[in-house]
Amino acid sequence: MSTPILEVRNVTMTFGGLTAVDDVSFNMAEGEILGLIGPNGAGKTTLFNVINGVYKPTRGNVVFRGRDITGLPPYDVVRLGLARTHQIVKPLNEMTVLENVVVGACFGAENLGLEPAQYVAEEVLEFTGLLQMKDELAGKLNIALKKRLEVARALAANPRLLLLDEVLAGLNPSEVAKMLDVIRSIRDRGISILMIEHIMQAIMSLSDRIVVLNFGQKLAEGTPDEVANDPQVIEAYLGDPEMAKRILEEEEA
C-alpha cells in the first residue's frame, strides 16, 4: 500500500480547560474524498486548523505525504500542497476576484511569478464559474460566490490535498448543485479532498469514507453506509436537536 496522503496521529487540541479535539487519528489515501462530520462544536474546524498549521496541536502529529508537518506555519504547509477554505469566508475585500485568486496561485505550491499566476487564476476562475465577475471587488460578492471564491483561491495553489470547510452551508439548492459539480471535477483532477459538511445527503453521496467527530473524539469511521447505520452515530445526531431538525428539513426538501 502506498503512503497515505494524510495521517492524523493522536491529535489533541486544548484551549485552556476545553478539549476541542481529543486524541483523534485517521488516515487518508491519495485520491480519496473523506467526509468529516459531527454535531456543532464537535471540533471539526479546529482539526482543520491543526492540520494546516493555524494551531499547533497540544499533542499528536500531522503527517502529509510522509512528511511530519506538525507545527509548520500555514504558509509553509500550503507550499507543500495542502490548501484549505474557511467556514467563515475570508475574502480579501478590497481586491478583485481575480486578484484574490492570483494571491492563491502566487503563494501556493508552485510559488509562481505574477504573470504565470495570472494564467492559472483565469483558468481556475473559468473552472469554478467565476470568470465573468473577475473584476468585481471580492467584498461585493454574495455569500454563495464568496464560498466559491474560497474554493477557487485554494485550488489556485495547485494542492494535492484540499480541505473544504462547509462550502455548501448557506447555499440554495441550485447553488449546492453547482458546488457539488465543482467538487466532483476537482476530484476528477486527482486532488484528494477532506471535507466538513452538515448536509448529509451531499456528504454521503460524495464521500468514499467518513469520519465522525463528537465532543472532540472520533466516534466512528467507515463507508457512508457503515457510518449511517452506526447506532452511536445515530444517537450522537439525535442527541443534537439542531442536527435532527436539519436532517428532517433535508428529508422534506
Partner: protein
C-alpha cells in the same frame, strides 16, 4: 524593460526633472527651499504609505527613521570626516537593519497596539538621544562650516544636496510603484486585507511585514541625512518630531492611501496649504485648526482621499495614475 513603456514612470521622471531644473535656472534659492520641504514631505508620505496603505499597519512614529538617518549622517561626517555619500548610505542601511530587527518584534502587534508601540519607539529614541552625550544631548550636533569646503563651498554643496533630495524623491515614488506591481506588493495587499487569510494562502506575513517596514525606513533615513546636512545641525526635538510623523499620515490620507500617486499629491498639496496658512497673517494663528478640520472632513467623508474620489468618478484614471 517593460516599465519604460509605462506613462507613470515618465511622469515621475519628468516632474522630478522639473523640480531639479526649475529653481536652478533662475538660481531661485527661496523656491529651492520650498521645494526641498515639498520633496521631503513626498519622501516621508510615500514611504509611510508602504506600511499604512500597502500593508495596513499604522506607523505613527515613522519620523524616527528620518531623525535617526539625520543623526547617523551628521555624526559620521562631523565626528569621523566621512564624505556625504558614504555617510547617508551607511545611515540608510543601518536604520533599515535596525528597523528590520525591530519589525520582527513589534509587527506582532496589530491595530492600535502597533500604532502605540511606534509612538513609544519614537519617543524612547528621542529621549535617549536627548540624553546621549556622544550626540550632543539636547544640544544636538553642529557641522562646522568647513565641512562644505570639500564639496566646492557651501553654495555649491547646497545645490548638490538639493539635487540629491529630488533624486531620493524620485526613487521613493519609483520604489512605491515597483512594489505595487510586484508579487511582494501583492502579498502586502493581501496582508492588509486580512492577515490570517493571507497566511493561509501562503503569504509569509511575518517576513513580508518586516521587510516592508525595513524598506519604508531606508529612503526616509537617507533623506534625513541629506536634510540635516543641508541645515548644518540637528537637534532631537526637530529630528524626532512626532508631529511631522502625524502630518505625514495626513498627507497619505489626503491623497489616498494604498495608491502611488495619492501620497505624492497629498504631500504636495499639504505643503502648499501649510505654506498658505502660515504666510497669510489672518490665518496663521488658525493653521492648526484649519488643518485639523480638513483632516476630520477627509476621515469622515472621503476616507479614500483624493485618488479614491478620482477613481470613483473616472475609472480610467487608474490606468495612468496608480
Amino acid at each position: 524593460m517593460k516599465f519604460l513603456k509605462s506613462p507613470f514612470f515618465w511622469i515621475v521622471i519628468a516632474v522630478s526633472l522639473l523640480y531639479a531644473v526649475y529653481p536652478k535656472l533662475g538660481n531661485n534659492i527661496t523656491l529651492r527651499e520650498t521645494l526641498v520641504l515639498s520633496a521631503i514631505y513626498v519622501i516621508l508620505a510615500t514611504n509611510l504609505n508602504l506600511m499604512i496603505g500597502y500593508t495596513g499597519y499604522v506607523n505613527f512614529g515613522s519620523i524616527v527613521f528620518f531623525g535617526l538617518g539625520g543623526y547617523l549622517t551628521l555624526w559620521l561626517i562631523g565626528g569621523y570626516g566621512w564624505n556625504l555619500y558614504a555617510a547617508v548610505l551607511f545611515a540608510g542601511v543601518v536604520t533599515s537593519l535596525l528597523t528590520l530587527a525591530l519589525g520582527f518584534g513589534i509587527l506582532r502587534l496589530r491595530g492600535a497596539y502597533f500604532a502605540l508601540a511606534t509612538i513609544g519607539v519614537n519617543e524612547a529614541v528621542k529621549d535617549f538621544v536627548s540624553n546621549f552625550d556622544k550626540w550632543g544631548g539636547s544640544e544636538g550636533i553642529f557641522l562646522p562650516f568647513s565641512t562644505y569646503k570639500s564639496m566646492g563651498g557651501a553654495v555649491h554643496a547646497l545645490w548638490t544636496v538639493y539635487f540629491l533630495i529630488i533624486g531620493v524623491m524620485a526613487l521613493s515614488l519609483l520604489l512605491s510603484w515597483f512594489i505595487k506591481r510586484s508579487k511582494f506588493g501583492l502579498g502586502l495587499f493581501a496582508i492588509r486585507e486580512d492577515e490570517d487569510a493571507a497566511i493561509v494562502l501562503g503569504v509569509k506575513a511575518p517576513v513580508y511585514k518586516a521587510i516592508a517596514y525595513s524598506v519604508s525606513a531606508f529612503l526616509p533615513a537617507v533623506a534625513g541625512g541629506l536634510y540635516f546636512f543641508k541645515n548644518g545641525s540637528i537637534v532631537p526635538e526637530e529630528a524626532f518630531n512626532l508631529h511631522l510623523s502625524i502630518e505625514s499620515i495626513v498627507m497619505v490620507m489626503l491623497g489616498g492611501q494604498g495608491t502611488v500617486t495619492g501620497p505624492w499629491v497629498g504631500a504636495f498639496l499639504y505643503e502648499r496649504l501649510r505654506g498658505l496658512l502660515l504666510t497669510t497673517p489672518s490665518l496663521s494663528n488658525f493653521h492648526l485648526v484649519i488643518a485639523g478640520v480638513l483632516l476630520l472632513l477627509i476621515i469622515l467623508f472621503a476616507p479614500g482621499g483624493l485618488m479614491g474620489w478620482l477613481y470613483k468618478r473616472w475609472a480610467r484614471v487608474r490606468g495612468v495614475l496608480e
